[in-house]
């Protein structure tokens, strides 16, 4: 058996892979945050709650309507997106002229409410969500037994991230979005309905969160607090990656997942803090984040 720093290589590789799974969630969530921050300049504190909402919708679909995982994997993000758009239209929209901090506070309030409502109906203990039939079981990778579903998480999130990246970097829609981030006023002067674009972007960003929620449902319990615990780490990821940078979010999300996974092996006590420590260091050295542009 080969050891790395006294840890068998199997365990090492295994933890890297698990880190990648967690990193997948970080990546999708921070991607959504980045998209939203880019165009709206709002730190979407409700992101975690909407992630939770996605998971719950999947669970409710199964519980009450008998809809299976694959249906909900499509439907739940759409519903979350629509919900987000309603939020944007009714509430967030009125705050753009004010200090960005109000956006943060508003979404914080929204997060509290959504979480509170689900708590009052379902308690904080999680609801189990079965792994879809077709993704049950595990493959033996030699160094570890990887449940197929975990592999699917990494695959699905990489696909979604790359798809989003492609949409934003390579399509006309994306060019509108990027241009809107740079100079929304001018884009509007070209005749583009920027307010609508903002609504849709917010919808899309939170739909990503919803998607992550559905992905997470079978591995984590579907619980009202699942988002609250995750969101702060994701914030840190966004800050490290560079606020608003798409590729930054994806790469940092996955990377930090892995680093966190490794910390669990080498220095378990620090595993929950390592992301914040990295954040502090990055901020000292590169205030705009690893991939962020200095403004």
């Amino acid at each position: 058996m080969i050891d790395i720093f006294g840890i068998p290589i199997q365990a090492f590789l295994g933890q890297i892979l698990l880190g990648l799974v967690n990193g997948s969630f970080y990546a999708i969530l921070s991607l959504g945050l980045a998209v939203i921050f880019g165009l709206l300049n709002v730190i979407n504190f409700a992101h975690g709650a909407l992630y939770m909402l996605g998971a719950f919708l999947a669970w409710m679909g199964m519980q009450y309507l008998g809809l299976n995982y694959w249906v909900m994997l499509v439907v739940a993000p759409i519903l979350v997106g629509i919900f987000g758009m309603i939020l944007e239209r009714l509430l967030l929209r009125h705050l753009y002229k004010l200090d960005h901090l109000y956006g943060l506070l508003l979404t914080f309030g929204i997060a509290l409410m959504i979480e509170g409502i689900f708590r009052s109906f379902y308690g904080v203990s999680g609801q189990p969500y079965p792994t879809p039939e077709s993704l049950r079981g595990a493959v033996n990778l030699g160094f570890m037994i990887l449940p197929i579903y975990r592999g699917w998480i990494v695959l699905a999130s990489v696909i979604v991230c790359l798809f989003t990246w492609f949409m934003i970097e390579k399509t006309r829609l994306g060019s509108l979005l990027r241009a809107g981030t740079e100079n929304p006023k001018l884009v509007e002067a070209f005749g583009i309905n920027v307010p609508l674009m903002i609504t849709l972007t917010y919808g899309f960003g939170v739909a990503l969160a919803g998607f992550a929620g559905v992905l997470a449902a079978p591995v984590l319990q579907v619980s009202p607090l699942m988002g609250a615990n995750l969101i702060i780490v994701v914030f840190a990821v966004v800050v490290i990656g560079g606020m608003g940078s798409i590729m930054g979010s994806i790469v940092t999300g996955l990377g930090l997942g892995v680093i966190e996974g490794l910390t669990k092996v080498f220095w378990p006590e620090a595993s929950s803090t390592v992301v914040f420590i990295i954040m502090a260091i990055v901020l000292l050295l590169r205030p705009a984040g690893l991939f962020g542009k200095e403004k």
Binding site: R172, S175, R178, A179, E188, F190, G191
Partner: protein, 239 residues
């Protein structure tokens, strides 16, 4: 009397608290080319921006092809057939040259007649852009960026063009290209509002001149009176 493409009455505008435009009146018949002259800071750029609702508060009346636009959101105003080429060019750094070019949507507002130029026509007019089509927008030279900024709005089918200092910082040869382009556009029936420091560039092109000072129109005359107004112009603009 020909139909007015643009009719601005008593337009006032503010940036935050500073009151920049103090009641601007301009009427432009369809197909005319006019030039706004004035010193730095006279408020010409602000006039264009106010037309599109890009300033802070604004008051007064703006009719685009007879449609009142003072209360419309910016993107709707654009759909009335206005294309805007900003002073700072507004090339998007995160977009390639061609993406920049393709960015503004085709306007099919009520009165925007033309279909707009095709990409091929545009590349024909500005061969430089064809060459640089894949480089990031802000890597283009200043002149190329300027061309791009103008070319960008030609595709949209807008028939009222607001061109802010398009000749600024450009080599004579490009300025000539631009002059030719404006002549062509004029022939095609475009209505054009130019803001120019470069009087020599603007003089032969414009049908009508307006001179601004401190946010007001202080003088206006048709091209035919240009010679006669030399002295006035000199006192108003010259150092």
């Amino acid at each position: 009397m020909t139909a007015l493409a643009l009719e601005i009455k008593d337009l006032q505008a503010w940036y935050g608290e500073s009151h920049i435009l103090h009641g601007v009146n301009i009427s432009i018949p369809k197909g005319q080319v006019i030039t706004l002259l004035g010193r730095n800071g006279a408020g010409r750029t602000t006039t264009l921006r106010a037309l599109l609702g890009l300033t802070g508060t604004r008051k007064g009346s703006i009719k685009v092809h007879g449609v009142e636009a003072i209360n419309l959101p910016t993107h709707k105003i654009a759909h009335l057939g206005i294309g805007y080429c900003p002073e700072e060019r507004g090339i998007f750094a995160s977009l390639s040259c061609e993406e920049n070019l393709l960015l503004p949507p085709q306007l099919n507002g009520t009165t925007a007649g033309d279909k707009g130029m095709s990409l091929a026509e545009i590349y024909e007019m500005f061969p430089n852009l064809l060459e640089r089509r894949n480089s990031p927008g802000t890597r283009l030279s200043g002149g190329e960026q300027q061309m791009l900024a103008v070319a960008r709005i030609l595709r949209t089918g807008a028939n009222i063009l607001l061109l802010d200092e398009i000749s600024e910082g450009l080599a004579p040869v490009i300025v000539k290209t631009l002059a030719r382009m404006i002549t062509t556009l004029k022939a095609k029936g475009f209505t054009i509002v130019m803001v120019e420091q470069n009087f020599r560039f603007a003089a032969p092109l414009a049908d009508h001149f307006y001179v601004m000072e401190h946010g007001e129109i202080v003088e206006q005359f048709p091209a035919s009176e240009l010679a006669a107004k030399q002295d006035t112009l000199h006192t108003l603009l010259g150092v």
